[in-house]
Amino acid sequence: MSVDALSEKAEFQRRARFIWLRGLAEKTGVFLGAIALWEILARTVIDPFWMSMPSLVAERLWKLAVSGDLLYHTQATVLQAMLGLVSGLLVGVAAGVVLTRYSRAAEAMNPIIMGLYSLPRIALAPLFIIWFGIGLLSKVMMVFSFVVFIFLLNTMQGLRAVDQDLVDLMRSMRAKPGFIAWRVQFPSILPWLVNAARISVGLALIGSVLGELLGANRGLGWYVEYSGGRLDTTGVFAGLVALMVVAIALNTVVDLVERWLVPTRP
């Protein structure tokens, strides 16, 4: 590479870094501006009774963190979401593999699957409480009912999209079905599974919080509900902020897993 090209490359990198920094500054600015606007409005024209105030919310979060309540509630919500997510993944992928293998059975079960998938899952809540009580299990099942279809449908789609020429090529070399599954089919559906996980993380939190709203004695959803019942908007907002942070954290985890598992695709 010539000196010119090198300096051109350095110049390009400098420019890219500048654009990135500028973007970061703009995002931070908008965020802080919105917080400041909220604070000012609450201190001047709108009664904080309705929408609390960033300073009060921050103070509440701090208190909750110090007392250990924040961790206590967050743990419950995240645990329910994760248990439901993992069981939904295992059952959904397994069912997807089986149904792809036995396509006539899949065809026959299609109306039931689509029916259950289309059913607003929230309507199942009373049934889940009767069946599974108001403990951990009913929340995990609620999450499970949200995510299992995502994994099932993505697995089936992914397996259908496997490059048949690749499978044929392996078969022409007398590869065993296990070899084809491990070297061709599994890597092919990985991006589909990561995609399913991305959608499911959000749904898992919805399911988890929903379960808590319907009957619980801990969890971030429960805390929001409890604060709302006492007209404590500061508590409601503190719970919402905590939920938002949890959601962002879980999405980041999915991003990292994707970068680790599917490094070659954009």
Binding site: S172, R174, A175, R183, T264
Partner: protein, 275 residues
């Protein structure tokens, strides 16, 4: 065998190179294939194909698109059963992919998530090569194909010609006794095609394996092979069978300068054109 286990192979003519085997490598008897479309109409793609390919023979199949060339290869590879007739490889009736048969498609069909090295390794894994022989053998193949610098590259960062070279490497790693090649250079530009044809002839002259090479490029077929089978379409039938008596070993490019090469190509062109 690339390592020169048979140093004299290059200057022997094929017929003199070895005693005749008990069975021809491939024998097709009255092979026919019908496809049924969605409306229930039957389309006959292949009709009464009889063909024998001897051990060490390089046979090219040419014909217009839709003459069932690719389908024929799928029958021989055991990936798709014919509707009528029988296929024998090494004397055994083909009902599933037979041992010692390697396939190369027009598309490179590499594992997109695996490196050049890993893709070639698949061939060794599937022919039961012991694990400790992988490294040296793959190194050898990378050398042979000029891929040494690209060992850890993913297919997506290689050109079409390079990818096809990797696919050829995987095929050579599998080391079949019969190579089925379905327009392997069909998607390459003229220059790369020339280079790949040369490479293939060079490797073949070291190994002398049986090859069935499907193409629609008549010059390529004549330049590479010992026999050119011309097929006609609708339904696919064998129309003619030309013996290519050009000298071996050949240079894939220089052979085109011979008057005999021109004659053969001209004859085959006319044969196809007269349909």
């Amino acid at each position: 065998m690339i390592d020169g286990a048979r140093p004299d192979a290059g200057d022997l003519t094929l017929s003199a190179a070895r005693p005749k085997a008990a069975h021809p490598r491939v024998r097709l008897e009255g092979v026919g294939k019908d496809f049924v479309d969605k409306k229930g109409a039957t389309l006959t793609v292949l009709e009464s194909i009889d063909l024998t390919v001897e051990e060490g023979e390089f046979v090219a199949i040419v014909g217009p698109s839709g003459c069932g060339k690719s389908t024929l290869l799928r029958h021989i590879s055991g990936l798709m059963p014919p509707t009528r007739g029988s296929v024998f490889v090494d004397g055994a009736l083909v009902t599933e992919p037979p041992p010692d048969v390697g396939f190369m498609f027009q598309r490179d069909t590499l594992l997109p998530w695996a490196s050049v090295y890993d893709n070639i390794r698949v061939g060794l894994q599937l022919n039961g090569t012991p694990q400790d022989a992988f490294e040296p053998r793959i190194g050898q193949l990378l050398d042979l194909l000029g891929l040494k610098a690209f060992r850890d590259f993913l297919p997506s960062s290689l050109s079409g010609g390079m990818r096809q070279r990797v696919a050829l490497g995987r095929l050579l790693a599998y080391a079949p006794a019969l190579y089925l090649m379905d327009e392997p250079f069909g998607a390459l530009d003229a220059m790369t095609k020339m280079a790949m044809g040369r490479e293939l002839l060079r490797i073949w002259s070291l190994e002398h394996k049986s090859v069935i090479f499907v193409t629609h490029d008549i010059e390529e077929a004549v330049g590479l092979s010992d026999r050119v089978i011309v097929m006609s379409a609708h339904p696919g039938r064998i129309k003619s069978d030309y013996r290519i008596d050009l000298p071996r070993p050949r240079d894939f490019r220089e052979v085109r300068l011979l008057p005999r090469f021109r004659d053969l190509c001209e004859t085959i062109w006319r044969d196809i054109g007269l349909e």
